[in-house]
Symmetry: C2
C-alpha cells in the first residue's frame, strides 16, 4: 500500500503529524513519535487525551511525514485505526524512547497514565519528491 | 489568540502541516510553506488541488507546526479559512520563495496554474513546550 520508495521515511526519526476528527468533525493535528512494522503505523497515546477520544468516535486519520533531510519530500498516509492495544507494560512507549531518544526507558511516563498503542492501516497515500 | 510565546514559530521557516476535510469528511494532511501577518496564517494553493476543493466545501482546518530547533515544542492552530485571495500576480508565492528559499521569484511556477492565498483565522490553539 505504501510505495517502497518511501519506506525510509517510515524508518526515520521524523515526526508524524497525525490528524484526527474532533467532536464536531473538525480536524485536529499534532506531531507524534511513530513506529512502523512493515504493514501498520503505530503510535502511543494516553487514554486521557483528546486524540484518544477522537479515535474512539471516528477511526479515520491522516498522517503526514516530512523527510528530515529534504523538506520537499513527504509522505501522506490516509487510513483507519484498526486496533487500540494495551501498553500497560510500557513496552511500546519504551521502544519509541529507544528509537527517538536512544534510551531504554521512556523518561516522561506519569504513574497512573494508561498507555495504549494506536494501530493504523493505510488506505491511500499521497507524496511529493 | 495565539500565545505570544509561540510567535517565533510563526516567524520561522518551519513547515506547517495543514489538515483539511475531504469529500467524506475524512482528514487529509500535508506540509506547506506559510506566512503570518500578526493576525492570520496564510498559505499558497493552486486551484487544481484537492486541498483547495476541500476548503471550498468546508473551511475548517488544523495546522501543526514543530519548532525546527526543538522537536518537543509545537503549536497547533485550529481555525477557519476566512478568505481565499487571488494571487495571479504571484506576489504571495514569491514572498514565500523569499522566506523559504531566499529567492525573489518562486522557481516552480507552472504557467497556467491559478494561484490563490488561503487566509486562516485561529479559533483555538494547543501547544507543548
Amino acid at each position: 500500500m505504501i510505495p517502497d520508495k518511501y519506506h525510509d521515511l517510515l524508518e526515520s526519526t521524523a515526526l508524524a503529524h497525525v490528524s484526527t476528527l474532533g467532536p464536531s468533525g473538525e480536524p485536529q493535528s499534532n506531531p507524534v513519535w511513530f513506529g512502523w512494522d512493515g504493514t501498520h503505523i503505530r503510535f502511543s497515546q494516553t487514554t486521557k487525551r483528546q486524540k484518544y477520544r477522537n479515535l474512539q468516535r471516528d477511526p479515520r486519520v491522516a498522517i503526514s511525514i516530512v523527510d528530515p533531510n529534504d523538506p520537499y519530500r513527504y509522505l501522506e498516509i490516509r487510513g483507519n485505526v484498526i486496533a487500540i492495544e494495551d501498553d500497560s507494560s510500557l513496552a511500546f512507549i519504551n521502544s519509541m524512547a529507544k528509537k527517538y531518544l536512544g534510551q531504554e526507558i521512556y523518561p516522561w511516563h506519569i504513574p497512573g497514565d494508561k498507555r495504549v498503542v494506536v494501530v493504523v492501516a493505510s488506505e491511500h497515500t499521497s507524496q511529493m519528491g
